[in-house]
């Protein structure tokens, strides 16, 4: 009986862990901006995407793979969703669950985009995907997609 209870206990805990959902903070640009300029020895990969953006969704598995490989190093990935705030529960959360995203997701709710696009990078037109990779003062920005190999070739030499 004790064994059965123990088994049941483990079964419930396991399901609990599996069902544990990633919580997605909603940030405005003011609260998000410091995440673009953290001065320490960690490599930060910040990817701007949205669930409806076809090339973004296509490159997400490569970002996930990179995150899985480097998450135990001095490395931090943030997937910054530009989905509408009204779509958080109806679209973004189900998408994260369905695709089993493990990297941290943030919803950036900042509709006055002209006010902040240049603050991410002056060369950014506003099209997504777009990615900032930085470590201290070393900084690489790209508007457009990455392959896994490209990502790793940038990240690997930066890891301390």
């Amino acid at each position: 009986m004790k064994k059965l209870l123990l088994l049941l206990f483990f079964a419930f805990t396991a399901t609990g862990l599996l069902a544990q959902k990633q919580s997605v903070p909603v940030m405005n640009f003011e609260s998000f901006q410091p995440l673009l300029h953290q001065q320490n020895d960690t490599v930060y990969v910040i990817n701007f995407w949205a669930t409806w953006c076809i090339p973004c969704v296509k490159e997400l598995p490569d970002f996930e793979q990179l995150n899985t490989k480097y998450k135990n190093k001095k490395f931090k990935m943030r997937l910054v969703s530009l989905d509408f705030k009204s779509a958080l529960q109806s679209r973004l959360m189900p998408f994260i669950e369905k695709n089993q995203l493990k990297a941290e997701v943030i919803l950036l709710h900042a509709p006055d985009a002209n006010a902040w696009i240049d603050l991410v990078d002056p060369s950014w037109s506003g099209a997504i995907p777009a990615t900032v990779i930085y470590q201290g003062d070393k900084r690489i920005f790209r508007e457009g997609s990455y392959t896994y190999e490209e990502l790793e070739s940038i990240v690997k030499p930066l890891i301390k």
């Binding site: 949205a50 409806w52 953006c53 076809i54 090339p55 530009l82 509408f84 705030k85 009204s86 509709p111 006055d112 985009a113 002209n114 006010a115 696009i117 240049d118 950014w124 037109s125 506003g126 099209a127 997504i128 995907p129 508007e143 457009g144």
Partner: protein, 200 residues
């Protein structure tokens, strides 16, 4: 000879550079001739009385384009009678995004009753010439001494999610400025949008 070569390479460099970047505010825009959803070809030359054009690169599938659909219709209804008609152009390759195919454009135009032409940039040359990078992306042209001069490039307003929360209506105030003989301010804005889907 060396000098000529270096000048030539400089000229080539700059012409390639400007091609890659498309139009800047102040540049003259060339006309186009593209297929409308009604089956007819449309050029800006078809509007001899226009004082200018609100050219909007847009499409069916992009949520930002969809979020702005009613605002595009409102712009057309307000400014076409004042001499600045809206011309919408879909720059996407439909083999990459089926929702942006010509027949789906026709369906969407009918559903929403677009009061403006909705053209297909079939060979994707027009958006490249303009330098559009995303949808929606607006180019406001003003007719000046027979030329069409780019006077504003950017977003429709400053809130893609909620029209009522927009505090800056960039295109509306840009057209109002042109009609008052002034330059738009700002003349250039950025916005989040969908990348234009180009066949590789």
């Amino acid at each position: 000879m060396k000098q000529i070569l270096s000048i030539l390479s400089l000229v080539l460099f700059f012409s390639l550079g400007s091609f890659a970047q498309g139009y800047q505010v102040g540049d003259k825009a060339a006309d186009f001739k593209l297929l409308n959803v009604d089956g007819k070809m449309v050029s800006m030359a078809d509007y001899p009385d226009a004082k200018g054009f609100i050219v909007i690169f847009t499409c069916n599938h992009c949520p930002y384009s969809i979020a702005y659909e009613d605002r595009k219709i409102a712009l057309a209804k307000k400014f076409a009678p004042l001499g600045y008609p809206v011309i919408a152009i879909n720059p996407n390759d439909s083999t990459l995004v089926e929702a942006d195919s010509y027949s789906n454009m026709q369906i969407r135009a009918k559903e929403k009753g677009f009061p403006y032409p909705y053209l297909l940039d079939a060979d994707q040359s027009v958006f490249k010439r303009f330098g559009a990078t995303r949808t929606p992306h607006v180019y406001l042209l003003n007719k000046e001494a027979g030329d069409l001069v780019v006077r504003y490039i950017g977003a429709i307003d400053n809130n893609y999610e909620d029209a009522n929360a927009a505090t800056e209506k960039y295109v509306e105030s840009a057209v109002a400025n042109l009609m008052a003989g002034k330059q738009p301010d700002p003349a250039f804005t950025k916005a989040i949008g969908c990348t234009i889907k180009v066949k590789k």
